[in-house]
């Protein structure tokens, strides 16, 4: 029997129209400057761990929930799980982290947080997602990596 879904009926939003920004970026004078939209383009298609929808469709991440300061090589993503007790919040956070680890130049520092008030164990999950030793250990766990990789397949076309 399939396990019960944590959020059986998520609200699905429309995907925003893709701008040509990414493409345009390659042609402008400072191709190395990374902005919010570029980060959003990297993570918007990550699949939710329990639904066939993207993080963008479920409003888990939006362009507004991303902060970038390229001059300081800093990225902060705030994400909002679809339900307050979502046990998949850690997987979503790890998916965001792994995706950015693969896309961003290594100079970047990335902080990932749950949106304030969006989760019943917000502080504990925030601490875990930003403890790089815990994250490193998680990425050595094949079962966990499997789950995370499944979420990232949709972003790698």
């Amino acid at each position: 029997m399939a396990p019960a879904l944590i959020n059986a009926n998520p609200v699905v939003h429309e995907k925003k129209e893709r701008t040509a920004k990414l493409q345009a970026n390659y042609n402008d004078s400072s191709p190395d400057v990374i902005d919010e939209l570029e980060i959003f383009d990297h993570v918007r298609d990550i699949t939710d761990p329990e639904h066939p929808y993207s993080l963008e469709q479920l409003n888990v991440v939006t362009e507004d929930s991303i902060f970038v300061d390229d001059s300081k090589s800093y990225v902060k993503i705030t994400f909002t799980p679809t339900v307050q007790h979502c046990s998949m919040a850690t997987i979503i956070g790890l998916s965001l982290r792994l995706k950015l680890l693969r896309c961003l130049p290594p100079r970047f520092k990335v902080d990932i947080f749950l949106a304030p008030g969006s989760h019943s164990t917000e502080a504990a999950i925030n601490k875990q997602l930003n403890d790089k030793e815990r994250v490193a250990a998680a990425f050595e766990n094949p079962n966990l990596v499997d789950l995370v990789e499944k979420c990232l397949v949709s972003t790698e076309e």
């Binding site: 601490k127 490193a136 250990a137 050595e140």
Partner: protein, 375 residues
Amino acid sequence: MEGVTATGEAPPARSPSPGVSLRLVQELEGHEDRAWGVAWRPCGGSSVLASCSGDKTVRIWEHASGSSPASATWACKAVLDSSHTRTVRQISWSPNGDMLASASFDATIGMWEYVGGDFSFIASFEGHENEVKSVAWNSAGTLMASCSRDKSVWIWEVLPGHEFECVSVLNGHTQDVKMLVWHPSLDILVSTSYDNTIKVWTEDGDGDDWHCAQTLGPPGRGHTSTVWSASFNATGDCLVTSSDDLTLIVWDTSADLTNSGSDDSAKWKHLTTISGYHDRTIFSVNWSRLNGFIASGAGDDCIRIFVESESQESAQEGSQSYELVHKHEKAHTADVNCVQWHPKDPRLLASAGDDGVVKIWELVGELPPALSATS
């Protein structure tokens, strides 16, 4: 220079009194993943440095015989790659330099013997339920301690014939235990944790009765996030700890905890919080036993050096204060995970970073007088 207080901002930038800086001696490349730790071999004629990494290996580095360790003649002499199946998080030499212990995410402790310049694998020790994060030897080399994400601290007795027997499993931390450090002369063990506290473990009498003598942190004064690292000064009357809360704390550890009871005078105390200097998690702090310099390595890619300042103001308050004497920006191109002063040469520092590189540094400039010998 005025003191740095727990609540105050860092003092405005002034020219630091002892003019010191770090000169890069050499970059040691070879690790194929982030370098987590470095450890100088504590004794022996030539300098030997061990490093460990997310690439599951330990590397041994030596400088060319006859040359100064402050010259760029370091080379990798050995790669110990057969003992662990996951990240090697930390390494620790026995005090006589004959053995090297490694803590790994594979839940084991690896033990290597170093004889005649060669390493031979002795054994791996199991027992922890998951990631082992730190190992440390007491000053006499008779005890070893290990800690893990399983929240426990184990004390191992070193027996003849490379036997290690677990004599105590210490529970008390409510989360992962990040790092262990022993007092420089007494059998007092300090553990730092993801639960934001530091615990001090002592033993009553006959060797097997270990217990937590004190917890440093909430509800008292202490760190407000994960405590990543700790280091004693030369005499062991002060301890410095580093945290995700972006501060270093110096503790007065002169009280004799074995003489316990509820008497407050027999407790370790918060002395000074060094705040306002670090921009991201401080993963490592190391107190030089030779000249009193405190080095820190942080997630902002910087290595910083602090020294106790002799301000009259702080003397009047009866408290100590510390001043930043050097900040080395971009010491690594990513997080600095570990900084370690050389045990014999006060000018040498080693560091390990997320860029996978191990670096040897020389402290240049006007050094404070060497501390009087403590042996």
